[in-house]
């Protein structure tokens, strides 16, 4: 069972403004930590630091441990941290199935095909494999994007406002699908909307920019 531990994170924006100070938290399998705060407070930068994809100019110190192993000096691709962004970024030059095959790790050619077909069925998208991603609805694309990340077998899942671009009718459906599929993982969710936060999740509040910053961890 994976566990993510973050110790002594200090995160500074390009202008030198401190975004996050002395942040410590741990997250076990099946737990969700919702990161909330106003725009520009550093929520997405926190995910950027965890995945080593922070834009140039940001400075960060701190430690990341995953299953007891320190990973903050590893490159992105070796951290086993899955990321789902606000836009689904399904690769337009690949079919829906090829997007999933791109994410899937290991297996023979036949096993890979079978797993992708099974995943599509699970998402209610059976028969959509050869479709161009552009022909899918927003909700369908969101499910494929999540599946692609989960098929890469991450040890932690990061979600950066994954529901914000969906219409209200589909949002609840996708939320449910997300929590079902990621129930075995530690999940860090960045959101503006309290309704996105599942029951039992802890909330990390990050203060607004320009004011004295307070980072507060609210227990479940």
């Amino acid at each position: 069972m994976s566990a993510l531990v973050v110790q002594d994170l200090e995160l500074t924006a390009p202008g030198g403004e401190a975004l996050i100070s002395h942040l410590n938290f741990s997250l076990g399998a099946g737990e969700v930590l919702a990161v909330m705060g106003p725009s520009g407070s550093g929520k997405s930068s926190l995910l950027g630091w965890l995945t080593a994809t922070l834009p140039a100019g940001f400075a960060a110190t701190g430690q990341i441990h995953l299953d007891g192993q320190r990973i903050d000096s590893l490159p992105t691709e070796r951290r086993r941290i899955g990321l789902v962004l606000q836009s689904d970024y399904l690769f337009p030059h690949m079919s829906v199935a090829d997007n999933l095959l791109f994410g899937l790790r290991g297996g023979s050619r036949r096993e890979r095909r079978e797993r992708v077909a099974h995943s599509l069925e699970l998402a209610g998208l059976a028969g959509f494999g050869e479709r161009d991603p552009a022909t899918l609805s927003g909700g369908q694309r969101a499910r494929v994007s999540l599946l692609r990340t989960l098929l890469s077998d991450p040890a932690v899942l990061l979600l950066d406002e994954p529901f914000s671009r969906l219409d209200t009718a589909r949002r609840e459906q996708i939320r449910q699908f997300t929590w079902e599929q990621s129930a075995h993982l530690p999940v860090l969710l960045v959101t503006h909307d309290l309704a996105d936060v599942p029951k039992g999740a802890r909330v990390l509040e990050i203060g607004s920019p320009g004011r004295a910053r307070a980072t507060r961890l609210v227990p479940a």
Binding site: E77, L83, H93, M94, R105, R109, S152
Partner: protein, 549 residues
């Protein structure tokens, strides 16, 4: 009244008619005297053809493959690094410098008595005299390949950079890497397959240019045998072999078409292989060594270009520079003062052609894009690539025939027209994206204030697009200054520019005089670029340059 169909049609006629007439003229000339097949047989039986063909395909083909490979290496290894900005700043000047001037600089850099060997001699090489083991130009065409790669790689890199903006590169890299792929694999599987269709035409233009280049091939290519294009230019100057030259020009066009077809076929095959690789899910750790090596290659390439340019002023002011001294031991202004009289006329002619053709090209580009925006003419992006894809020899041999018939050959008007035809595609391709994407609400806002069409165009649209317009004008100047073959053939030797003087000086002129001419030829477009950049900075509200073809 607004910019409409008649003005745009005039632009189209002035642009298309010489291209069509040029092709037709070459075809007519090829079948002159006897019949086309007999003339073709005469060319095919010429013992010089085989060697020229092999050299052309080797130099043009290999240089193009290297340009594509190095562009990928530069993108994969340098994108997103701190060096990326510096690299991007160094590339536009290299793009602005004319081929002939850069070729002279490269010769000064890599010749047996060149700067590279001077830096290493005698301590590392033991040479206290220039070695005789090799020459620049060399018999294999290696110097020509180096010249083409140094000149054309910045072109493709900048074309790629302009297109990357629409591909969500950072997000794709983040997603790809969190899925477990190394940066190099993210590029090869996620970004390059989407980038290629956007830069395909630019690459084909480079391929066509590399196969048919004349000025650089004269300065850096072997002389016996020369490349096919150079041999054809030698043949066309003799009336008795003009039909042979015309047949050869058609043959060269056939080679360019075959090479382009081969690229498109390879694209299909590589595309299928790439799709299979994307599905296999194999991850391998990225190699820091490979990344560093890629960065080193990018820097060596840039450094070669920059050093080649620095060689020009160095030689033009050098008085005594004995081998193996790294730097001149005495400096002089003599080469400049002595040559001032002889270079004045070509310099003025170069400036005249550049300024007038740039002004007309920018005006014509604006007329076309404005008519296109208003739905008066269709979008014809591929048309502008025609002069860039068809070898200059093929178009100009035929164009010259019509110019002679119309008694225009040798006059400035026909030379100016040719410069305009070769500048216009760049102007349109640079302006197009910005012109099409400018928010129409600016014009609506102006119209609702009661401002008329022309005033809105002049006071709102053009100032907002000042950056791309200035950049397009600078590129038009650079293209005109570099034109060698159109000036030579249509000017019939009566229109001397810096390009024609520089190429004519090959073999007969001393290094310092060549350097003086090359400096002058390089300074004109560089000045245009600096002015465009300054203008762009002053117009802080102007839209950024959106695309480089």
């Amino acid at each position: 009244m607004a910019v409409g169909q008649p003005a745009a049609l005039l632009v189209a006629v002035l642009f298309i008619s010489p291209l069509a007439a040029g092709l037709l003229g070459t075809f007519v000339q090829a079948s002159a005297g006897a019949d086309l097949l007999r003339n073709l047989g005469e060319v095919l039986n010429d013992p010089r053809l085989r060697a020229a063909l092999v050299l052309t395909v080797f130099t043009g083909g290999l240089a193009s493959v290297l340009v594509a490979a190095l562009t990928s290496v530069v993108l994969v290894s340098a994108h997103g690094t701190r060096a990326w900005r510096a690299l991007n700043a160094a590339l536009p000047p290299l793009l602005a410098v004319p081929h002939a001037a850069l070729a002279v600089g490269i010769a000064f850099l890599f010749a047996p008595s060149g700067f590279v060997l001077r830096l290493m001699s005698p301590s590392l090489t033991g040479y206290d005299r220039p070695p005789t083991d090799w020459t620049v130009p060399d018999a294999w065409g290696i110097s020509l390949i180096v010249g083409l790669v140094v000149k054309e790689t910045p072109f493709l890199v900048l074309a790629a950079v302009a297109q990357l903006r629409g591909l969500d590169v950072d997000e794709s890299l983040s997603i790809g890497r969190t899925l477990g792929y190394s940066p190099a694999r993210c590029w090869s599987r996620l970004i390059l397959p989407r980038l290629w269709p956007r830069i395909r035409l630019a690459f084909l233009a480079i391929l066509a240019f590399n196969l048919a280049v004349v000025d650089m091939a004269i300065l850096l290519g072997p002389g016996h045998p020369p490349t096919l294009a150079v041999w054809l230019v030698q043949l066309v100057s003799d009336p008795s072999t003009r039909h042979v030259a015309a047949i050869g020009a058609l043959l060269l066009t056939g080679i360019v078409i075959a090479a382009c077809a081969l690229v498109l076929l390879s694209e299909r095959v590589l595309g299928l292989m790439a799709a299979r690789r994307r599905r296999n899910g194999q991850r391998r750790p990225g190699s820091q060594l490979a990344r560093r090596l890629g960065q080193a290659i990018a820097w060596i390439l840039t450094l070669t270009g920059v050093l080649s340019l620095l060689m020009l002023p160095l030689w033009s002011f050098a008085s005594r520079w004995r081998f193996p001294h790294a730097w001149p031991s005495a400096w002089t202004l003599q080469h400049w003062t002595h040559r001032l009289g002889s270079v004045f006329e070509p310099a003025v002619a170069t400036l005249f052609f550049a300024l007038i053709s740039a002004v007309f090209a920018v005006c014509a580009g604006i007329v076309w894009l404005e008519a296109e925006r208003r739905g008066r003419v269709p979008r014809l992006d591929s048309l502008w690539y025609v002069p860039l894809l068809v070898p200059q020899t093929t178009l100009l041999f035929g164009w010259q025939v019509w110019a002679i018939h119309a008694q225009l050959n040798g006059g400035w008007l026909v030379v100016m027209h040719a410069h305009w035809v070769y500048s216009l595609p760049y102007v349109v391709l640079i302006l197009a994206t910005a012109w099409r994407e400018l928010d129409p609400r600016w014009m609506h806002a102006s119209a609702t204030l009661g401002v008329g069409y022309w005033r809105t165009l002049w006071r709102v649209r053009l100032p907002l697009l000042a950056g791309p317009v200035a950049q397009a004008a600078a590129v038009a100047v650079a293209v005109s200054v570099a034109q060698y073959l159109p000036t030579l053939l249509l000017g019939a030797g009566r229109q001397a520019t810096l390009a024609t003087e520089l190429v004519a000086g090959q073999g007969g002129m001393d290094r310092r005089s060549m350097a003086t001419l090359a400096v002058l030829q390089a300074v004109l477009p560089l000045t245009a670029f600096v002015l465009a950049l300054r203008w762009q900075r002053r117009q802080r509200f102007a839209a950024p340059v959106a695309v480089v073809p």
